[in-house]
């Protein structure tokens, strides 16, 4: 059994703790000087936010993560552009781009994905999630009904998978259509991107059982998660194909539990969040910026390792981790959490730097 660790790339607003809004890394503004008038700034417009994203991707790779998760955040950078930019500049990590099934033609998405695969030695992967909020969907030009989303996702993945793996493929569904499709020549024979799907409803789990390689659960206490994990296993056994379970969770790790709690409290305060943690554990504290997990695991390295080991024992085989600031924390977690956690799980530590 291998267990994989992804690092979330903040597609917007990374910086120190929760006051990131006032000190965005890499962002430049003509009307807001970064330094006081008494200090010269040599940077001009030579750098931008993508240089920072590049730093984060390299940090995650050097720190021994297995992959990068590029979230789909309408308030941030577009995930496929970020994924392409970072894939070219990394060597080993998987690059998991999140997007929704209202993106456009499934054939076009598949065709672009084939290029990503060809250019990355098959390191590209898909996480498909459609916003649960109907207003957010309409702002994306998407007027689908809630109940229809799982079927559209299923059609999207079905069409994409077939045009990548065969030719002469025709399909006419409710949402997608293709005639005599399929990629030939140099575009043929590529690996279908690993498909990650999300959601906790019965219909979501059922689609994953039929189609997904990995099903992603949001951070929640293990006692709550257990029933969903079991249901996914039942459905996947019935469908006769294995589906891995992933957990999307943020971490706030410090050398001591007291420091972790202190920093978590400060972050909550800066965000004016209601939850003020007073001891290590899983807190309903959302990391600022793009694609926050539903909860944050707060503690020293041993505590965090113990909690993640419990999730792994319950069946989680992919962890999608995040923290702010993404660069420093990639190193901290890569150094203080991953090696010991991998040892505890009986895994070989990813060779880094």
């Amino acid at each position: 059994m291998t267990i994989q660790f992804y690092w979330q790339v903040p597609t917007r607003g990374d910086g120190r703790l929760a006051d990131a809004a006032t000190r965005l890394r890499g962002e430049r503004s003509d009307d807001q000087a970064y330094f006081t008038a008494g200090v010269t700034d040599p940077r001009g417009r030579q750098f931008n936010y993508y240089d920072h994203l590049h730093q984060i991707a390299k940090a995650a790779e050097l720190a021994g993560f297995d992959g990068l998760l590029v979230p789909n955040d309408p308030q941030g950078e577009e995930s496929w552009i970020v994924a392409g930019y970072l894939t070219r500049n990394t060597r080993r990590v998987k690059v998991l781009a999140a997007f929704d099934s209202a993106r456009g033609s499934a054939v076009y998405a598949a065709k672009n994905a084939v290029s990503y695969q060809r250019y990355s030695n098959s390191r590209f992967a898909w996480q498909i999630a459609t916003p649960v909020d109907a207003a957010e969907r309409r702002a994306n030009g998407d007027f689908i009904q809630d109940a229809d989303i799982p079927q559209r996702t299923e059609e999207f993945v079905t069409v994409a998978r077939h045009v990548i793996t065969e030719t002469g493929y025709s399909f006419k569904g409710r949402f997608f259509e293709v005639l005599e499709g399929g990629f030939k020549g140099p575009l043929s024979g590529q690996a279908v991107p690993q498909v990650f799907l999300t959601g906790q409803a019965e219909a979501d789990l059922a689609v994953s059982a039929r189609l997904a390689d990995v099903h992603v659960f949001e951070a929640q206490p293990l006692v709550d998660l257990q029933a969903h994990l079991e249901r996914l296993q039942e459905l996947s056994a019935k469908a006769g194909r294995p589906v891995q379970a992933a957990l999307r969770i943020d971490l706030l790790v410090r050398e001591t539990a007291a420091e972790a709690v202190h920093d978590a409290a400060r972050q909550a305060q800066q965000q004016a969040a209601k939850v003020i943690p007073d001891q290590a554990g899983l807190w309903a504290l959302q990391t600022p910026g793009a694609g926050a997990a539903h909860a944050t695991l707060v503690g020293d390295a041993d505590q965090v390792i113990a909690a993640l080991t419990d999730y792994a024992a319950a069946g989680i085989t992919v962890f999608q981790l995040g923290a702010v600031p993404a660069l420093e924390e990639a190193y901290r977690i890569g150094e203080q959490v991953l090696p010991a956690l991998r040892a505890r799980l009986g895994l070989t530590q990813q060779q880094a730097a």
């Binding site: 209202a102 290029s115 702002a139 994306n140 293709v178 005599e180 499709g181 020549g185």
Partner: protein, 390 residues
């Protein structure tokens, strides 16, 4: 106004010359109509290189040699320009990515976000070659169902939405093809340059759409009188509709130190053709399709295929290029001076930009950048000529 000169990115892979059929660069080759993967010098092996590494070299050669950037085409058999642009944004400096795509394939909000993000990643180096395309079953291959005339209306509406979102603030749209409610680009993605639009399409429906959104009307090279007529019509129509549209020519060239050397290159390419190559060409010349542009090209096909000279339309204009490689039929052949003069002729009849190409694209980017581009006068030539007459 000075003219812009672009290069073209050979996503189809390419041979080392027009007389060599085996594609060593990129990773595929066309043989007797079947597309066969051919590994080439590097790529697909354990060394970590792939065909993008050659494309990256061509892009770097183009920017080093003084081209604005390059057209990155989109074909069923080749890699996609959105992918190439995002992958190469960081390792290029001034190279502008001309992304060929069909609006119908993308949600316009997704497209707007992709475009703004690519502008941020590349410091504003993205632009579009908007294609509305052929029709019929080939469109359904891409998963797209709209019929031909509707597709130009959809292109117009798609670009309306893109511009609407680009302005910032909350944007709603209720059209025939797209509905959006309170859509918005996030603040940090605003304020980027809107991509210049190179627009293709020869039908009346295409011209109506171009008159609303095109910055450049892009044509293949046609016989000069026909091209002038076409450019005049485009400019007249679009002027009437209130938008100044410039014209651009996408053309292959063979430029050498002397005219003799240039024709020798063409002749050797022609003499390396097999009978099957010529039969395939003859079949193409007899077809008719839904694309007005491709049909216009067929009208100039020669009646005999015995000698490369059968394909000479004008001095320095050769119409046999599609025999030697895929794509359009007409191109410019001549000495460096002659090629520059023909480009200036095209400027005089209305061209404001060029997309040039020559095989192999890497070495030829240097050659054309070093030998031909410095000789092109652009609109300066026209002014000089007028002064001389006056």
């Amino acid at each position: 106004m000075a003219i812009d000169i672009f290069w073209r990115i050979p996503t189809h892979g390419e041979p080392s010359s027009l007389r060599n059929k085996l594609h060593h660069r990129g990773d595929w080759s066309q043989q007797e109509g079947d597309h066969v993967v051919h590994r080439g010098l590097a790529g697909g092996g354990d060394d970590g290189f792939n065909s993008l590494d050659y494309i990256a070299e061509v892009a770097r050669a183009a920017e080093i040699s003084g081209f604005h950037g390059g057209l990155i085409p989109s074909f069923p058999m080749t890699d996609e320009p959105w992918a190439i642009s995002s992958f190469l944004a960081r390792e290029t400096s001034t190279f502008r990515f001309m992304i060929a795509f069909q609006p119908g394939f993308l949600n316009p909000v997704t497209a707007a976000r992709m475009t703004a993000s690519l502008q941020r990643a590349s410091n504003g180096r993205a632009l579009f070659n908007i294609i509305t395309g052929g029709g019929g079953p080939s469109q359904l291959w891409w998963g797209d169902v709209a019929p031909h005339d509707d597709r130009y209306a959809r292109t117009t509406e798609f670009l309306d939405v893109l511009r609407g979102l680009w302005k910032g603030g909350s944007y709603s749209h209720h059209g025939k093809f797209y509905q959006l409610e309170n859509a918005a680009l996030p603040a940090q993605l605003l304020g980027q340059e809107f991509p210049e639009i190179y627009f293709s399409g020869s039908s009346d429906a295409a011209l109506v759409s171009a008159s609303q959104h095109a910055d450049f009307y892009l044509s293949w090279l046609e016989p000069f009188d026909q091209l002038k007529e076409k450019f005049d019509k485009v400019k007249e129509k679009t002027d009437k509709l209130g938008r100044k549209v410039k014209c651009a020519v996408r053309v292959d060239i063979v430029a050498r130190a002397t005219e003799e050397e240039a024709w020798r290159e063409v002749r050797r390419g022609f003499e390396s053709l097999s009978e099957a190559d010529k039969e395939r060409y003859a079949r193409f010349a007899q077809q008719t399709g839904d694309s007005v542009g491709a049909n216009r090209q067929r009208n100039n096909a020669p009646k005999t295929l015995d000698n490369y000279r059968d394909f000479i339309l004008h001095p320095n204009i050769w119409s046999g290029f599609s025999l030697l490689r895929g794509g359009q039929t007409n191109g410019i052949v001549g000495s460096y001076e002659q090629v520059a003069e023909r480009l200036d002729d095209l400027v005089k009849l209305g061209a404001d930009a060029f997309i040039l190409a020559s095989t192999p694209h890497l070495e030829e980017a240097y050659r054309v950048g070093e030998e031909v581009l410095p000789l092109v006068q652009g609109h300066g030539a026209r002014n000089a000529a007028l002064r001389a007459v006056g």
